[in-house]
Symmetry: C2
Subunit: 212 residues, 2 copies
DNA sequence: ATAAGTTTGTGAAGAATTTCACAAGCCTCC
DNA sequence: GGAGGCTTGTGAAATTCTTCACAAACTTAT
């Protein structure tokens, strides 16, 4: 694939993901082409932004016509690394972990949940979706053994760093955390944090300081 | 309160929220002061960034000493609008909505869940946390009646825009959406979207294009 | 074949955000 | 009370990200 020469901004990657979602929709509808303007309106951005984002990876459109919907869909899947099937473990068999397991888009998009872990003896051994909840003590070993790519952390903030240290040592390379805390990891590990409190407080701030 | 003259960047607000979380922790431990350097290390940012962020709102520290932990905590709560109790409704009584309802930090931080809504007749009328699931048809009316501030949208993407239109018309001012779609709202409405697929795809991209 | 009408791809300009660097201020110790 | 050692607050510089604007290229219509 065309190697990105420049570092790609996180905001660009997020938009690529959004373009992909809407292109899949258009593809399902049988639409042949889409202009940067159409994509921009669907995604709530600007046509120039769409073209710039895509231009980092190559030249996919035809002038006067737009982008080929199906071709660009496939191309974006490659760029985002979604041709590949990723191995995922979920750490924490609570409500959030449970909601995640039920999330359809998960497997649909090539993220295979190969294990669920918890340290609560009450939960260990219980069937849980396709898997069985396993003892957290086995986590590091399993991550190494099964070459797990991504760990989803859905446990309390206080326990998060310890677990992260273990699985980083075991060779994991990417982490999606729902723990409301900042995680310390070596620079080559990719981390995303979803922090609901932060989002709510962002809204609270907007409501408080709006309109001036 | 000191009015922010300049528009405050979203990234700044997110960091304020993080500073607050750690300051609360330090306050609980009885620590009197914290330097920008200490806060930066806790939050994974830089001292200069901490000082710049805070300086938008005033001058809270003492040179040579740092910031007063308790005072700054209170000040940040005000700035973020957390002195106020916000009225929240949750739309969608599925797994995500359920995980949200159980989320402790919710009420703890002044977000009062005053209603849960679903359009599925099977769910309507069921007790659910402190509340009872109500018919979605009552949503717009209730939002207007009870002066609800924030709606959390935890329903499928296809239904999201329609619901958003209704509650915007009913006078809601802020929306936190878990629907994987972009929402169209008037400019004075604050919207945050949490999109798990997008986060996972960001990780997939990082894993695919790392190290060059 | 030509003209008219679109739409891409992209340097360059502009805006926003982060980092730098240092004067000014405060504390502590002697 | 003066000296030394920290730490803040902040303009300015650097960097990053977005928007602009237009030549080039393609389609369609006649």
């Amino acid at each position: 694939m065309t190697l990105p020469i420049k570092r790609i901004a996180e905001s660009t990657v997020r938009r690529l993901s959004m373009y992909l979602r809407y292109l899949e929709g258009l593809d399902g509808l049988g639409q042949q082409t889409a202009s940067s303007d159409e994509l921009a309106q669907l995604c709530g951005t600007t046509p120039a932004q769409v073209r710039k984002d895509l231009s980092f990876f190559g030249s996919f459109g035809k002038r006067g016509l737009g982008y080929p919907v199906h071709g660009l869909t496939e191309r974006l899947r490659e760029i985002l690394g979604l041709s590949h099937a990723w191995q995922v473990v979920i750490v924490g068999a609570g409500k959030i972990g449970s909601a995640l397991a039920e999330y359809r888009g998960f497997r649909q998009r090539g993220f295979q949940v190969v294990g669920v872990y918890d340290k609560n003896p009450e939960k260990i051994g219980r069937p849980w979706g396709d898997a069985t909840v396993r003892d957290m003590l086995a986590l590091a070993h399993d991550v190494k053994e099964k070459h797990v790519d991504i760990a989803v952390i859905a446990i309390p903030a206080d326990d998060a760093q310890e677990v992260v240290d273990q699985i980083v040592a075991a060779g994991i390379r990417a982490i999606l955390s729902f723990a409301p805390t900042s995680l310390h990891v070596p620079p080559h590990i990719a981390v995303k944090t979803v922090n609901m409190a932060m989002e709510l407080e962002g809204l609270s701030f907007a409501l408080t300081n709006r309109g001036e």
